[in-house]
């Protein structure tokens, strides 16, 4: 099918550009590694709080850092399409018979491939720092899958916004304003039961929460599969909706050419 073939070609294009800048991949990992190392140390004794329910803070934090990394990677992705718009590359694609959805799909797929590699590195570092889980062989793949679903969703939304505003400054502003609070309005650093009540409510509606909770639950020795399924399904629905928004934004761009 042309959509799939063209999406693969587009993904190759982005991965090749990423491969040529290996420093970028490392640079992108500096921040999550700092969270893992510093927050892991700083909040080490938080697990002693009654009601926290975790064996060690680094075991609790690692899935959160994997999800946060995916959130930021997705949230900033719109920058790339603005560069392509400015260079005339998107318009050049539109002059060819290339499958239109592949232009966005290729970006999202390459984002998830890069994000997947980063997740594996962060998981490895987490284990080196002492993170341990009841069922890692089922839990870790599900954690990565949930993170990539969420990354795809925020990547799509970021691309959609970039196609509408078409200014790097606006994407930077919006990403800065939204992404950090989203990590605090979710149980990334703190058990949900110990968060203030209004924050707990906000966290329930936060896709970051759905991703991190499904990952943590699946890593548990005795996972509640109902909880995992509901969260993954909600996340998948959110991702589909985000893709739809991105498609609409791309159509609007085409009309404005």
């Amino acid at each position: 099918m042309k959509l799939i073939r063209d999406s693969v070609y587009m993904t190759q294009r982005h991965l090749m550009a990423l491969w040529r800048q290996p420093f970028w991949v490392v640079f992108m990992l500096v921040q999550p590694v700092i969270w893992l190392a510093l927050y892991g140390q700083l909040f080490r004794r938080v697990v002693e709080l009654p009601g926290f329910h975790a064996t060690s803070y680094v075991s609790f934090l690692m899935p959160g850092v994997v999800v946060t990394n995916a959130l930021f990677g997705g949230g900033w992705q719109g920058m790339g399409i603005i560069a392509d718009l400015e260079r005339g590359i998107i318009d050049r694609f539109l002059l060819t018979p290339v499958s239109r959805p592949a232009i966005i799909a290729g970006r999202i797929l390459s984002l998830c491939v890069g994000g997947g590699v980063q997740s594996l590195i962060l998981i490895g570092l987490g284990f080196l720092m002492g993170a341990r889980y009841g069922s890692p062989w089922i839990g870790l793949p599900l954690l990565v899958a949930a993170s990539m679903l969420m990354m795809a969703a925020f990547g799509a939304l970021s691309n959609a916004m970039a196609l509408v505003v078409r200014k790097e400054e606006s994407v930077i502003g919006a990403s800065n304003m939204l992404l950090l609070p989203m990590t605090f309005l979710s149980p990334i650093y703190m058990a949900k039961a110990l968060m203030p009540e209004w924050m707990q409510k906000a966290a329930m509606a936060n896709p970051v929460t759905w991703a991190v909770e499904s990952g943590r639950e699946a890593l548990d020795a005795a996972p509640d599969w109902g909880r995992v399924t509901v969260r993954l399904a909600t996340l998948a629905a959110f991702t589909v909706m985000s893709m739809w928004v991105a498609t609409r934004a791309f159509r609007a761009y085409q009309r404005s050419v």
Binding site: D6, R87, D91, F93, L95, P97
Partner: protein, 331 residues
């Protein structure tokens, strides 16, 4: 003539007004015969880029009809895209990929693959003398090289119609003349039809078989570069004398020569217009000689497309260009 019956490009009454009320096209019509080079000439903001965007399916006209290679651009956009190549005003080269990768990706969009695609890539790299830099990141290419890569990408699928939107804008004079050579040699090959937009008079004159002059979204004149210029009542002819001459005898001598008009006699020179200056010059010289008037020098100035533009729009090209500070290409 068959080419008259089925033009490669036909635009009829194209109209386009952008959001914000900017009228880009106001009933533009023209036709391009297969295998020829047609230049749309006009200042920035005349509507050239909008025309290319409509003909290449990138945008839709508000009114009018456009047919490219026998296909209606509005109703059969997907089919049109398969048979056209386009080099937009802005380079579409992916600066983070090599020249070869740029060409390969472009070819794949048209369903080309495998050995046939690689062979076509090598062919184009050699054709545009990019073979040596083919595997370098195109960020390192000069402006002229990037432009050649752009054109090679536009040709990868052997299109029937090639659109070149301001292909040499922003290039230094050397790169420009090198690109002109490439475009002229393209034009002679494989029966490809080229629509070129330019705001360089010299470019239209040099490359195009026919020129359409666009002003404020309408076609104001059309013809071969030579034809357009000859409509301007001929060439300017100037004869200089070694010593002051009698005005009446100079005038009397020249009035005997057929096809000479607008005679202006100065003390040691005479200015006139001739339909074809080069063929009139010997007659002028022999008429002066017979009257005993010794000419020292003859100068024939061909009318430029600049004069043509002035003639049809009532304003000089530079003036029109300056009136449009907002380039439509930046829209």
């Amino acid at each position: 003539m068959d080419t008259q019956a089925s033009p490669a490009i036909r635009a009829a009454g194209l109209k386009k007004t952008y959001a914000g009320g900017v009228k880009a096209l106001d009933g533009l019509s023209f036709a391009v015969a297969p295998g020829t080079v047609y230049a749309l000439l006009g200042p920035n903001g005349a509507g050239k880029s909008t025309t290319v965007k409509i003909l290449t399916t990138l945008t839709k006209a508000d009114a009018g009809e456009a047919v490219v290679a026998g296909l209606d651009v509005a109703r059969r956009a997907a089919d049109v895209r398969r048979v056209i190549g386009c080099v937009a005003q802005k380079s579409g080269v992916d600066a983070n990929a090599t020249g070869r990768e740029n060409l390969r990706l472009q070819g794949r969009f048209y369903g080309m693959r495998g050995a046939a695609l690689e062979q076509r890539i090598d062919e184009l790299l050699a054709r545009f003398r990019l073979a040596e830099s083919a595997d370098k990141i195109s960020r390192t290419f000069s402006g002229g090289m990037q432009r050649k890569l752009d054109i090679a990408m536009g040709l990868i699928h052997r299109p029937a119609v090639l659109f070149l939107d301001e292909p040499t804008t922003g290039l230094d004079p050397e790169a420009r003349s090198s690109l002109w050579n490439e475009i002229s040699s393209l034009a002679g090959q494989h029966g490809i039809t080229i629509l070129l937009t330019t705001h360089y008079l010299e470019e239209a004159d040099k490359l195009a078989d026919r020129v359409g002059i666009v002003d404020r979204g309408r076609l104001v004149a059309e013809g071969t570069p030579e034809g357009l210029k000859s409509e301007l009542q001929g060439d300017a002819v100037q004869v200089e004398f070694s010593e002051p001459q009698n005005e009446a005898s100079v005038r009397a001598a020249l009035e005997r020569v057929a096809g000479i008009r607008e005679i202006v006699v100065e003390t040691q020179a005479v200015h006139a217009r001739a339909q074809h200056g080069a063929s009139a010059a010997p007659a002028i010289l022999s008429a002066l000689d017979q009257a005993g008037l010794r000419a020292m020098a003859v100068r024939i100035a061909r009318p430029s497309l600049d004069d043509v533009y002035l003639h049809y729009t009532g304003r000089s090209f530079q003036e029109a260009d300056a009136q449009q500070p907002l380039s439509e290409g930046k829209r």
